[in-house]
């Protein structure tokens, strides 16, 4: 048999990600360098964000002339027979592995960034898949594995990912063409030549000198303000070292939310929990309860009321971050409009508790005032009017303790802490699970209400099984079910299932 074989290249990409551009460059490059080149693809609906494969075969003309015959080039990659796989995203590299395209003979060039699938973005919690699994298998399977965040590289170069991938392909040294030939291909395309050459160059360098990057966290010297120092001192004195990090974050959040006194309240509440933890041998469990609660209590105490939102929206740090997020250039003027939809409930929340409570119960009055809250509001934060309006709301912060929302949240926190305190001596793990229920309650408006509803359902169900030794397992099941769908159907089913088991 003739040992001369075509070079086979599979580009696995998502529709609209420039796989076609890359395939076109490779074809043009190969033809210019005296190769017979063939590419195929499957356009159609796959182009609309689906996963798709471009397949390229290259064959030296010299070899064809020697044989006096053209090669028969094929149209689909065959598992075990792909020389180069170029994946424009990490999970697409995973898909190439899955389809058997990556073997010991393969050079795998993969961008180490993620474009999340809808199934990963949609869940109410964290639905992301772990790319480390793909990296590990890629390292173990591919003959050569070149991988870095090529999207970031493309952004740094103000170019497109195709040019970085093309550079990485050149840098891999797997194609028998000189760097110059690659660059000439980009030049001949006559489109964004400068930017593409920049991206190409950065891709080339990174691929040619590819090494596994290491990251070391940087130590930061901390000098707290005089008002804060005593709080931190107390934290260090009263709590075990293992939970310091979490508690510092929690404390910081509470102070930022309200004031120093509120921070002290956080520490008071944590101290009670820590004592409970100590009594129940928490030390053997690495202070699980204290650590979990340090996180969840801080989040619960810093609830998202109108004052908080207005405060966050008007900070100086926000505008700087925002300019970066929207990729604004230095000389561009950026104006910002918020999309807010305060309901009558949010008005009640900020009113002094008795007044708020009166209004929220007075249906007629509520309906009358509700007229003004039917529509969403656009607030231009960068205008004087908008900024002042939000600033006034933010300035209500010192009065927050009088508000209806504060009083409601305090009640919720206390009954939650009670439930934890009651559970801990009997079932430590259950106490931790109850603490974790905070994760269900997030967001605003309907989202927040849905979370509360789920929380209440679970706490009611808990009463029926809390005496069981594996109550914590049941609770975890219910929590997971609550995160499955918005309408609470899975949770409802799970609760019914539990009750059936109990009665039978």
């Amino acid at each position: 048999m003739n040992p001369v074989r075509p070079i086979t290249i599979a580009i696995t990409a998502m529709g609209g990600q420039g796989g076609g551009v890359l395939a076109g460059w490779i074809i043009a490059l190969a033809e210019a360098e005296g190769y017979i080149a063939q590419s195929t693809s499957v356009p159609g609906v796959a182009q609309r964000t689906g996963a798709t494969i471009y397949y390229v075969e290259l064959f030296a003309k010299v070899s064809a002339q020697k044989a006096g015959q053209d090669p028969v080039l094929t149209l689909t990659p065959i598992p075990g027979d792909v020389d180069i796989v170029i994946a424009s995203e990490m999970m697409e590299a995973g898909r190439a592995l899955l389809r058997g395209f990556v073997t010991a003979k393969t050079t795998l060039i993969a961008s180490d960034h993620r474009v999340f699938a809808i199934s990963e973005k949609e869940p109410m919690g964290d639905g992301r898949q772990n790319p480390e699994h793909v990296r590990k298998l890629a390292r173990a399977t591919a003959g050569q594995f070149i991988s870095f965040d090529m999207e970031q590289t493309a952004n740094d170069a103000h170019s497109i990912i195709s040019s970085v991938l093309f550079g990485a392909l050149a840098g891999s040294g797997k194609l028998p063409f000189p760097r110059k030939a690659f660059e000439n291909t980009i030049k001949a395309s006559n489109k964004a030549v400068e930017a593409n050459l920049r991206g190409f160059g950065m891709g080339f360098d990174k691929a040619a000198s590819y090494d596994v990057p290491s990251q070391k966290p940087q130590e930061v010297k901390i000098t707290p303000a005089p008002l804060i120092a005593p709080l931190l001192q107390r934290l260090h004195d009263e709590f075990p070292k293992a939970v310091h990090d979490t508690l510092v974050h929690g404390l910081k959040r509470c102070v930022d939310f309200q004031d120093v006194r509120y921070g002290a309240l956080y520490l008071d509440r944590m101290a009670a929990i820590h004592e409970l933890d100590q009594v129940n041998n928490g030390k053997d469990k690495k202070w699980h309860l204290t650590r979990d609660l340090g996180r969840y209590l801080a989040l619960k105490m810093s609830f998202e009321d109108t004052i908080r939102v207005a405060d966050l929206k008007t900070r100086s740090s926000r505008l700087a971050r925002l300019r970066n997020d929207v990729a604004a250039k230095k000389d561009q003027i950026v104006s910002v409009t918020e999309f807010m939809h305060p309901r009558i409930e949010e008005l009640c929340d900020v009113l002094p508790a008795p007044l708020g409570r009166y209004l929220s119960r007075h249906e007629k009055l509520k309906a009358g005032l509700g007229q003004f809250f039917k529509k969403g509001r656009r607030v231009e934060t960068t205008s004087l009017r908008g900024f002042l309006f939000l600033s006034v709301l933010a300035a209500l912060k010192p009065l927050r303790r009088l508000s209806l929302r504060y009083s409601i949240e305090t009640g919720r926190i206390e009954s939650w802490l009670n439930a934890i305190t009651n559970a801990a001596p009997v079932n430590y793990a259950l106490a931790c699970e109850i603490a974790g229920l905070q994760r269900l309650i997030k967001g605003y408006g309907d989202t927040h209400e849905r979370g509360l509803r789920n929380y209440t359902t679970i706490m009611a169900a808990l009463e029926t099984f809390q005496a069981k030794p594996d109550a914590h397992k049941y609770l975890k099941k219910l929590k997971d079910a609550a995160l499955l769908d918005e309408d609470g159907l899975a949770l409802q089913k799970a609760v019914q299932h539990l009750q059936k088991r109990r009665t039978s």
């Binding site: 689906g50 699938a117 199934s119 919690g125 971050r321 960068t382 994760r439």
Partner: protein, 715 residues
């Protein structure tokens, strides 16, 4: 204006004799049509032949020079009926569409033209949308050829063979007075390559010649008694004529060697895949040189009994490589061998799968089985091992599926967001879908839709539900499907039958899913077509009185209109026309203009959206109501929170749906829109200066107050 412009590529169509043509398969077919002296071309777009229509459309000046008429047909039936021009006159014509869906639509006219028979060559180019990447039911075009007795070509997938097949197709059609179907698989349509060109030929007998000197022959009309005569003609004259032409001109190829007592029969379109599989199995080299005899069917219907008998006579077993099912060729093969009393064993679906695309791996596995059983010791194995099955299973759970979805900023998205919100309030509805981008509504995150019955059939798909009930049904139809046939089969049908339900017509100005081609109702100016015919006028003309055009990006109004349609006491069909231009086309048109304007120093305001990471709590309700690709998730920067938060990436085109959703669904205050002013005016600068001074002052004061609470290091 189509999604992809072929203005540069079409210049290649002018390449003359002896020159080498480089390009895509579909462009090569166009060139071959011109070389064959075609007089008229029609068709309906759809992958994988959309580009053929786009190329022809962009090539109209060249076509006009050659006196070729090109028409974007209203649907495939209209395209097939166009072939009637070849019945009475020596005119060569070609039509094209996506198969089998297009062939389904076309088959009425196809059967008629096949019965009448043709004088001029009639070529039907079908893009066989089968296997990976296909978006339609998995069927074959083969039986359409069989039932109407149309000859079916399936050439080897290289540009020389494909262009030769076009030329042969016309000649075969004329020699046998029968239309000829040329089947091109998805990848063949998009394969790049080269072939040696010939000069374009101007038809000798023109369309005008026919119009000015009409010829009539009752014997060619499908009416009794001619229809009976046609059937006899097919059997007694046309079929034998085709068989002898195919034999004489060697349209099928005997490739490979002459050794051994086993052989392979393969559909031409699968030849390249087969040869690579054989090479990997150690049975051939990369040039296709092999000892194994191969009978390559470039014509898969009709079969040529003489050739089959000759090939099989000295063989114990033959492998039949035939993709798809039912296995018509294998059955025909068995019949021929049986009638000839030949004992050659035909092995086909016994070792190859009944369903699915025949990829290299599939054929490799089939070859191994066949040779192990019938010619052992010939196959070698030297492929590299991939993942272990354990690793593969585990990895399959990690790698997420990527269902197709609406593009960034797509105007169809808010229609389904509105429907999802309405369903949340009023409960689920029966939703009948159509064909087009809007069909993505059945996928996450919308999960809206019960059935899809075919292009333009969205409303007729729900026509049974025309009875008294407490809920109405909602049907969807795109502007593409509307003009394809939905105007009559959906709207006319509903008016006539006193339907009381709802139709939402997605009017984005293009046949978007097939590549953004213009339609009757397109708002864009098109020099070669008539556009600007509003859908609203069409449906009112049919007698619908409840018609509401709504801008799709106005989510609140869309929601209110849907609710009104669902609850109104007014009887009769209710039509909501959801209007906004396809964002892909809009960006393609506007982006270059905008960039040029910015370069010229003009003041341009660009809008894009963002999410504040410190107010976003990571519930992702916005994603569940939108699914915009630019709406993604990132690690929560807050060390206390665990769930990832939403982020708007730089692909955002500022369509505004995020903000509308935040308002309509009362979601959260995290969304903001940022207006970026390029080349700000003096007034802009002045205003920004004043604002900056005041806001800056207040912010500095707040920063100072906050500094009292600093933890230091601000990590």
């Amino acid at each position: 204006m189509a999604e992809r412009s072929f203005d540069a590529e079409v210049q290649k169509l002018k390449v003359g004799a002896g020159e080498t043509f480089h390009g895509e398969g579909i462009l090569a077919v166009t060139k071959a049509l011109l070389q064959a002296g075609v007089s008229y071309v029609g068709g309906y777009q759809g992958a994988p032949i959309s580009h053929l229509m786009d190329v022809l459309s962009d090539a109209e000046p060249i076509l006009n020079d050659l006196g070729v008429h090109f028409e974007t047909s209203a649907n495939e039936a209209a395209a097939a009926a166009m072939l009637a021009a070849s019945v009475n006159y020596p005119l060569r014509g070609a039509v094209t569409w996506k198969s089998t869906v297009g062939t389904n639509v076309a088959s009425d006219a196809l059967a008629s033209v096949a019965s009448s028979g043709v004088m001029g060559g009639a070529l039907i180019i079908v893009g066989e949308d089968y296997g990976e990447g296909s978006s339609i039911m998995q069927e074959r075009s083969h039986p359409f050829a069989m039932k109407s007795q149309i000859w079916l070509l399936d050439p080897r997938p290289n540009l020389t063979s494909i262009t030769q097949a076009v030329e042969n197709g016309f000649a075969l059609s004329e020699a046998s007075h029968t239309p000829v179907m040329l089947e091109l698989r998805i990848r063949a349509c998009h394969v790049s390559g080269s072939f040696v060109a010939k000069d374009n030929v101007r038809p000798v007998f023109t369309l005008a010649d026919a119009m000015e000197n009409p010829v009539r022959d009752y014997g060619r009309v499908v009416l009794p008694p001619s229809n009976f005569v046609h059937e006899v003609e097919k059997i007694e004259n046309r079929w034998p004529a085709a068989v002898s032409f195919i034999k004489k001109h060697k349209l099928n190829e005997f490739l490979g060697g002459h050794g051994g007592d086993v052989g392979i029969i393969v559909q031409g379109g699968l030849y390249n895949t087969l040869m690579r599989a054989m090479e990997l199995a150690g049975l051939a080299d990369v040039f296709g040189r092999t000892e194994i005899p191969i009978y390559c069917l470039n014509v898969t219907y009709p079969m040529i009994p003489d050739e089959v008998r000759g090939f099989c006579a000295d063989k114990r077993a033959v492998l039949m490589v035939e993709e798809g099912q039912p296995e018509y060729i294998e059955q025909a093969l068995n019949t021929i061998l049986c009638q000839a009393d030949l004992a050659t064993k035909v092995v086909g679906k016994e070792v190859l799968p009944r369903a699915g695309e025949y990829t290299g791996q599939v054929l490799l596995d089939g070859l191994r089985q066949f040779f192990t059983a019938h010619a052992p010791g010939q196959v070698t194995t030297n492929t590299n091992a991939a993942l272990s099955s354990k690793d593969q299973k585990k990895l399959a759970k990690t790698v997420p599926l990527r269902p197709v979805g609406f593009c960034t900023g797509c105007p169809e998205r808010p229609v389904f967001t509105a429907m999802k919100l309405v369903q949340k309030e009023l409960g689920d509805f029966h939703v009948s879908c159509d064909i087009g981008c809007h069909l993505f509504s059945i996928l996450p995150p919308f999960n809206i839709g019960n059935t899809t019955m075919g292009y333009g059939l969205g409303w007729s798909g729900a026509s049974a539900f025309n009875t008294k009930a407490t809920k109405r049904t909602i049907s969807i139809m795109g502007d593409g499907g509307f003009w394809h046939n939905g105007l009559t089969s959906g709207v006319g049908n509903a008016v006539f039958n006193k339907n009381d339900n709802i139709l939402v017509i997605i009017d984005n100005g293009y046949s978007a899913a097939t590549g953004g081609q213009d339609l009757l109702s397109s708002r864009a100016n098109n020099e070669t077509r008539v556009t600007g015919q509003p859908i609203e006028r069409a449906v009112r003309g049919l007698g619908v009185s409840w018609v509401r055009p709504v801008n799709t990006y106005d989510l609140g109004k869309m929601k209110a209109t849907l609710k009104e349609a669902l609850s109104t006491d007014e009887k009769g069909p209710k039509i909501i026309i959801a209007q906004s231009e396809c964002m892909l086309n809009r960006q393609r048109r506007e982006k270059p203009l905008q960039n040029a304007a910015i370069k010229n120093g003009e003041r341009i305001v660009r809008t894009r959206f963002g999410v504040d990471p410190d107010t976003c709590t990571g519930d992702h309700a916005c994603i569940r109501l939108s699914g915009c690709p630019s709406l993604t998730i990132v690690d929560n920067p807050d060390p206390l929170r665990e769930d990832p938060i939403t982020r708007v990436n730089n692909d955002c085109v500022g369509c505004g749906v995020c903000g509308e959703i935040a308002h309509a669904a009362i979601l959260c205050p995290s969304f903001y829109s940022a207006q970026l002013i390029e080349n700000p005016s003096l007034w802009d600068r002045l205003r920004a200066g004043i604002r900056g001074a005041v806001i800056g002052f207040l912010q500095r004061r707040a920063d100072k107050a906050r500094a009292k609470y600093s933890f230091g290091g601000e990590a």
